[in-house]
């Protein structure tokens, strides 16, 4: 092959490689969620009530303990599951009984849930039960929100701060 043709071929080859690199380094564009949709992200880490309530140790029980291990109360390690619900415009979107984490079920219950919903005005209701009650919820909040397309509405839960937090 003549040298000039060879050089031209090398140029074209390297140019093609650079076009491939330049293009695929940012194209084609990936659409994470469809147009006109928004996202609700529900995430929290919260411990449910203990399965066996704390109680005071009796004098006899205290006496049986080594002096260095004596404490006034005793508590069961295991925690009950946390029940959480998310309702959008009256429609149940998420309903989960979150088991306590940890080998002995003594850690907090956790969730991290992404829900894709249409953008626009909505009524969002979040409920959570962390006690042994059989019905109803310990925390409930209802909020009117208007979600823009691609908006991310984060819903956190912090018992210390009064319950659900919409961000």
């Amino acid at each position: 092959m003549p040298d000039m043709l060879r050089y031209a071929g090398q140029f074209v080859f390297l140019a093609m490689i650079m076009v491939v690199i330049g293009y695929f380094s940012s194209q084609p564009v990936y659409l994470q969620i469809p147009d006109g949709m928004a996202q609700i992200k529900l995430s929290f880490s919260h411990g449910g009530a203990r399965k066996v309530d704390c109680r005071k140790l009796t004098v006899k029980e205290l006496a049986a303990l080594p002096p260095t291990k004596r404490r006034p109360n005793t508590c069961g390690r295991e925690r009950i599951p946390v029940h959480v619900q998310l309702v959008l415009d009256g429609q149940l979107l998420y309903d989960e009984l979150l088991e306590a984490t940890g080998l002995w079920n003594d850690g907090p219950s956790r969730t991290y849930k992404k829900l894709i919903v249409p953008a626009g005005p909505h009524v969002v209701v979040a409920r959570l039960r962390d006690t042994k009650r059989q019905s109803g919820f310990d925390y409930e909040v209802s909020q009117d929100v208007t979600l823009e397309p691609f908006q991310n509405l984060a819903i956190d839960f912090k018992a210390d701060a009064g319950g659900f937090q919409f961000r």
Binding site: F13, I17, S25, V29, L31, Q39, F150, R167
Partner: protein, 526 residues
């Protein structure tokens, strides 16, 4: 697995040959993948050091600092940023091609498992390093990468708190996270470099620098791309908004959309299986290993030629153990020896003229010995007729020798051309076993045993021991480095060579036998 390997082998051959039309053998990019990988690594390192000077690791300022580099100081920091990104993408390309090529050429099984297995973590680390780099820009893409990565890690269930909660809302994010990421982005490539050093431990003279011309061409191409199409940030990250439309770097992030949509158990399971299979490939199936080279101390004076020529660090020189008056002797490590025979080809005692004693070189393969090579050469020569007889010595990975054999073309396969001592050419021609000799094997710069072609060329040119003797008429010797796909080229070359020999030489069949006795020849060559 072997069908896949064969199919890929053909593809690799076609690509190598196609590029062989454009590039001289030393410049062929497919034959310099590992060296190009190192070259891109250095570009990434230098450009990375420069842009780190201007980079602010704070969550609020990271984006602005990169925008400054891209737009205000575009002429230097901006170009450096583009080089950093595009060289990283190019690194992925050459790394994956290198992996496919080594698999296709079956250079990962047997004793070569070590280089393959140590290459796998490098592959993973380069991906980690690249992904952590995208994170630092803190634009929409960074936000997407950060969230999908942490969500995927959380699926393992080993973290006390889900780390994706760090990106729940704008107020949740802290600059400490960026400090951690920049640390990872610097530390991981350094660890990868250390593993690369281990990766190269079982090969001698590893080619870690591409030829200067190729390096300059590639660098110029990267520079041109950086100027014409500079790397830009996307919109700044905003955790209150889903990234939505993201321009992904498909070299690093092609699986991210799947990580997001497929169940965590499945993606982690697939990732684990992929990793296990990658590591297990050298044993899928286990290679039937040829016996390693063996040393015969009675014929070895410890000249170190085999030590110098071994491409796989399989030979070390140790103190003499047989009491003879030589300082050293070679010691073959069977775990490293691929039985390529280059050591036998380098041994000055691999002398086919030798008749008074058995042809037993100082170092030789146990299964395909130099003595058997001589026997085969003589047997093949006995069947050659007609003018323009040619003896073809070809390696196992070169053109299909059986397809070129005829009454006037004899074929003698060798493990690698480097196994053939130059004295064999002298032997064939001076003993009138053929009118010409053709050496053929792998494509140039693509020798399966790494240095077979290079050493052969140097031996023929008198630049490397053992030399081809001056008395050998060079016009009766041809070489063709064409690879497995070069059978047609070999046929064509043989036709031309044969007719050339037939017209140039008298009918040697009627010529008298050589005047010198075997004993004289042995003395001359010894």
């Amino acid at each position: 697995m072997s069908a896949l390997r064969l199919a890929l082998h053909r593809c690799v051959d076609l690509t190598e040959n196609a590029l062989g039309w454009l590039f001289p053998p030393a410049w062929n990019p497919v034959l310099n993948l590992g060296a190009l990988g190192f070259f891109f690594y250095w570009i990434i390192t230098v450009s990375g050091i420069y842009i780190y000077i201007f980079f602010d690791t704070g969550v609020q300022n990271a984006y602005q600092s990169i925008e400054y580099m891209t737009h205000e100081q575009w002429y230097l920091a901006g170009i450096m940023r583009s080089l950093h990104r595009y060289a990283s993408d190019a690194l992925i390309i050459v790394m994956l091609l290198h992996l496919v090529r080594e698999f296709a050429r079956d250079r990962c099984r047997g004793v070569r498992w070590f280089s393959w297995v140590t290459g796998v973590p490098v592959l993973v680390m380069v991906y980690f390093a690249g992904i952590s780099g995208y994170w630092l820009v803190w634009d929409k893409l960074a936000q997407y990468v950060a969230i999908v990565s942490t969500e995927w890690l959380d699926m393992l269930g080993i973290f006390g708190q889900p780390i994706a909660r760090n990106f729940l809302s704008p107020d949740a994010l802290e600059s400490r996270f960026f400090t951690l990421m920049i640390f990872m982005h610097i530390a991981i490539p350094l660890i990868a470099l250390a593993i690369l050093w281990i990766h190269l431990q079982r090969v001698t003279k590893p080619r870690i620098n591409p030829p200067r011309g190729l390096a300059l061409s590639v660098f110029a191409a990267l520079m041109a791309l950086s100027l014409i199409h500079p790397a830009l940030s996307q919109a700044p990250a905003d955790l209150a908004v889903v990234p939505g439309k993201v321009g992904l770097d498909w070299f690093y992030l092609p699986l991210y959309p799947l990580l997001e949509t497929l169940p965590g158990n499945l993606t982690w399971g697939l990732a684990g299986c992929f990793l296990v299979i990658m590591i297990a490939i050298p044993w899928l199936p286990p290679m039937k290993r040829a016996l390693p080279a063996a040393v015969d101390l009675d014929n070895c004076n410890g000249c170190a030629r085999c030590y110098n020529d071994c491409p796989y660090n399989a030979i070390t020189l140790v103190a003499r153990t047989d009491g003879r008056a030589f300082e050293r002797e070679p010691l073959v490590n069977p775990a490293y020896c691929v039985a390529c025979g280059l050591c036998a080809g380098s041994c000055p005692t691999s002398m086919p003229f030798r008749r008074l004693s058995a042809l037993s070189p100082g170092i030789d393969l146990q299964e395909r010995t130099i003595a058997s090579l001589r026997d085969q050469t003589e047997e093949v020569a006995g069947g050659l007729t007609g003018p323009g007889r040619i003896m073809v010595f070809g390696c196992d990975d070169g053109p299909a020798l059986k397809r070129v054999a005829s009454q006037s073309i004899g074929i003698v396969p060798v493990v690698c051309l480097g196994q053939l001592p130059p004295t064999f050419i002298d032997y064939v021609l001076s003993r009138n076993l053929a009118d010409g000799v053709m050496l053929t094997g792998c494509s140039e710069n693509s020798c399966t045993a790494r240095f077979g072609i290079e050493w052969t060329k140097q031996r023929l040119a008198g630049e490397r021991d053992p030399h081809l003797r001056n008395r050998v008429p060079r016009e009766r010797l041809r070489t063709l480095w064409a690879g497995a796909a070069g059978t047609g080229a070999l046929q064509q070359a043989l036709v031309e060579f044969s007719s050339e020999l037939a017209s140039a030489t008298p009918d040697v069949r009627a010529a008298p036998p050589p005047t010198c006795s075997p004993a004289t020849m042995e003395t001359q060559d010894a």
